[in-house]
């Protein structure tokens, strides 16, 4: 019922002639809202199409880009991150993937995220808060290829660590690109070791590639320390 009020208020500010409140208008408004709601519901319930190859989990593509200059707060991170879409089958994955720019063609400080549906690509999400990630730094030119291999391994359940995988990220930065894979339990060393070994195998990395495991609690701490410093120095 609140929605109706809001809708009427908006009409008031826009058009005085509708002020007299003909009930038709509010009736008109309703189906539209319902339609919108239905679209949202449809978006949430992705299922494999007939004859398509189902995936073990549904996944969601996200994209984020940092607005240059402004030090980001957690809130603005959440605002900057945009959902591209969710999929439940191999065919649906390719539909999204083929309609998206390759990470190697992205410019500026931006990221693609591919997470299991329902898990936000944020440290604070319930699935992530006890977790961590393997990080691989890549020199420019390798990101598109490595990202593809990484997400194909994730979608194809090649990591064999049960429910542990949360999602994957490719981060385009100034002089390098970074790919990472997030898991639920940072303290589970058997899992993190298995993820590392699978990464080595599926990414076909040179043996001297440095792989780093970082817990999200450490990431949060580092982030807070960094922004604490930024604030202190800007307060001069």
């Amino acid at each position: 019922m609140n929605n109706k009020f809001d809708a009427l208020k908006d009409d008031d500010s826009g058009d005085h002639e509708q002020d007299q409140g003909s009930p038709k208008d509010s009736e008109k408004e309703k189906p539209e809202e319902e339609e919108k709601e239905q679209i949202i519901i449809k978006k949430k319930m992705v299922v494999p199409g007939p004859g398509e190859h189902p995936l073990q989990y549904n996944y969601t593509f996200w994209y984020s880009r940092r607005t240059p200059g402004r030090p980001a707060s957690t809130q603005s991170y959440e605002q900057n991150i945009k959902q591209i879409g969710s999929f439940a089958s191999v065919e649906q994955f390719w539909r999204f993937y083929s309609h998206m720019i390759r990470p190697g063609d992205l410019t500026g400080h931006s990221d693609f995220h591919l997470f299991k549906e329902g898990i936000k690509p944020m440290w604070e999400d319930d699935a992530n808060k006890m977790g961590g990630k393997w990080i691989i730094r890549l020199r420019k030119g390798l990101a598109s290829r490595c990202w593809e291999n990484l997400i194909l391994a994730m979608l194809g359940e090649q990591f064999m660590v049960g429910e542990e995988i949360c999602g994957a990220v490719v981060s385009v930065r100034f002089q390098e690109d970074i790919i990472s894979i997030w898991n639920k339990t940072a303290s589970d060393q058997a899992t993190t070791a298995r993820i590392r070994d699978t990464l080595r195998r599926v990414l076909n990395l040179p043996p001297n590639t440095i792989m780093e495991y970082k817990t999200h609690t450490d990431s949060i701490k580092a982030w807070e320390d960094f922004h604490g410093l930024v604030n202190a120095s800007s307060g001069r």
Partner: protein
């Protein structure tokens, strides 16, 4: 923590598999033993039902939907995979048309070329 992570080789994980496979065979026996009731027939049918229930549960857990990279890549060129998704936001990273899968082949050779440099 770093040192201990390095010390666990993948091999140590392998013995866990046969153990998990044994579980469905053990549990129904426990259930059957716990229910020492006079009606033998009933007891056995329940036991079998439970056995299959538990067995199927474990089967479901074990039967993950796995795909190899080559299989997934193979599906990329089917017409279903090139359709535009029904809901696609208007966004700078979203392309108006699907990328050409032929581009992927090109990338393989490019990347292999790069790899030799490393």
């Amino acid at each position: 923590m770093e040192a201990s992570t390095r010390r666990i080789p993948l091999k140590h994980l392998k013995p866990a598999r046969p153990l998990r496979r044994c579980v469905p065979f053990v549990e129904p026996q426990i259930n059957a033993a716990a229910g020492e009731q006079p009606l033998m027939e009933q007891e056995t049918t329940v036991g079998i039902d439970q056995f299959f229930k538990i067995f199927n549960l474990h089967k479901q857990k074990k039967d993950r939907i796995c795909y190899t990279r080559d299989f997934l890549i193979g599906l990329a060129s089917c017409p279903e995979a090139k359709k535009r998704p029904e809901y696609l936001p208007d966004h700078p990273v979203v392309l108006p048309e699907a990328r050409d899968p032929g581009q992927q082949e090109l990338r393989v050779t490019l990347w292999n070329g790069v790899k030799e440099d490393i």
